[in-house]
């Protein structure tokens, strides 16, 4: 048997999945920027992070990616998907497109994805803890309760996040994320 006669099996590019993930990363990035302006808790979490904080969230090995960071005047900004020579202080790597799909289609909660070793975090662990809290709040704003409950460990009750804050904040975050 001549092994050379067999064609090389190349991995599929998974275009549609990549496009879906890229869109989701864009939405999450824009929503983080918006939530940092709208929500007091998110604002406080970012205030505690170091001035040069820069998050890179990406799918190994070829992306897509998303960058969010603090500007010189302390504002939180979505910096796009292209690496413009950024030096991330916190990198969150999702190990494969399939792992990212499980996460972004909410088949697997963020906590479960972490415990199943589908995410690798490189950077200061306190920053990573703060980021997970921020992502949880953003998910509660972005998603309807029935889906958000799959994504976060504990969906906040009215006593923790009153309905006015949730619904008004949701409108503001959607408007800001998709307009300016």
């Amino acid at each position: 048997m001549n092994a050379l006669q067999y064609p090389e099996i190349k991995p599929k590019k998974k275009f549609i999945k990549r496009i879906y993930i890229a869109v989701m990363l864009w939405v999450v990035g824009r929503a983080i920027q918006a939530a940092a302006k709208v929500d007091k808790e998110v604002k406080e979490e970012f205030a505690k992070l170091k001035d040069n904080f820069l998050l890179k969230m990406w799918i190994w090995p070829n992306g897509p990616s998303m960058y969010v960071g603090k500007t010189k005047d302390g504002k939180v900004k979505y910096l796009g998907w292209k690496d413009k020579g950024y030096k991330p202080t916190l990198t969150m790597t999702i190990k494969s497109v399939e792992a990212a799909m499980l996460l972004f289609t909410f088949q697997e909660a963020t906590a479960i994805a972490t415990t199943r070793n589908r995410l690798v975090v490189d950077g200061d662990l306190p920053d990573a803890c703060a980021l997970v809290r921020i992502l949880n709040i953003v998910e509660v704003y972005l998603l309807p309760k029935i889906i958000a409950k799959l994504a976060v460990k504990r969906y906040p009750k009215c006593s923790q996040m009153n309905p006015f804050r949730k619904h008004f904040g949701r409108i503001l975050i959607y408007v800001r994320a998709f307009t300016f």
């Binding site: 906590a111 972490t114 199943r116 662990l125 990573a128 803890c129 409950k149 460990k153 923790q160």
Partner: protein, 416 residues
Amino acid sequence: MQLPAYYEFCNSVKTIVGHKALEQIPQSLKAINAQRPMIITDKGVEQAGLIKIVQAAMQKSKLKAAAIFDSVPADSDVKVVNEVAKLYRSKKCDSIIAVGGGSVLDTAKGANILVSENAADLMQFVGYGNVKRKLRPLVAVPTTAGTGSEVTSVAVIANHEKNIKMAFGSLFLLPDIAILDSRMTKTLPPTITAFTGMDALTHAVEAYFCLAKNPLSDTTALAAIQLIAQNLVNVVKKPSDLDGRLALALASNLAGMAFSNSMVGLVHNIGHAIGGVCGVPHGICMNILLPYGLEYNMHKAAQHIGQLLYPLAGEEVYNKTPVKERPLKTVEYIRKLIQDLHDATDGKHPRFLKEVYDKTGKQMIPKEKLHDIAKTAMSDPAQFYNPEDLDYNDYIMVLEAAWEGIPLDRKKIKKG
């Protein structure tokens, strides 16, 4: 048994267990082509005469330690790691035998990185996965039955100048060989035996009910819990019980295997913070917080917590207890175990946070420190693996109950 859709498990350590297991050192070293071992230990171990036992076991085969470093402090430090590496190089050693507790084993792992990578600075290896190749042979001989460091792939080393703790994680940090010999823990005082045993129990219990549990870690966790439940109080009452000592050493090893693959949750999360803020030994924090960790997560992990009653209390009690009552009965058994240890050590084994005193009799955890502890706990990644989420107020609720020594009011626990 829960079968997750995906899990990972790794344990590549050859483990040698027995009353005279140390006698296997020469052959074991020969098998991994090591001829000039360096012994790393601390003053306490050396003064207890344990190094003489190790040397005697080696001399029977005419094997000699090329160097001995016996000054590892209680809190591993990067300066000490550098000193160890310097001695290793100057004496042309080719392997390490680490004899001690968690601090000694972590120091040995740190020094092994430096000498194997021929590096001068540990900082470049900080984090997970930054040690990328096989290190020099490392034999771990634990002298406490609690940390399970002999089968874990992590090391924590302090940098006192920068006031930080550096964590290293890599499968290459797993020792090549772990030797569990009952003579190594025989002289351990009852109080230390008690809280190190509770540390091992916490590793196993958290590995069993937290989010990264899997069938392989479940198996080792359950075996560890059974061994601890059957032997800990007896050994604290009768320290010379060598069979009991060996059973606890094995339990610690099994629990280490479980938690290094399944990680830990709330109990370690808050315990790390108390250790950082107040300097309380890790095992003492684990012992006090374990029932609270179970109570806090009961609504999310009732089934798994209920299953722990079997290895803790035995078949008869488990079968007699209705399924619904098993989780609470598990907590009751653990509280009883803590009380038994308190009684067996004439009250030296603390049950609550307010009962923790230092050697001068000063309270180590004043109530006003609880806020600092809660804030510190919010930055600890062990929270990721806890079944229920935690915010600042949740930490305070758990800490206040654990400080006073009252069970958690489970009605107050926020449920999603």
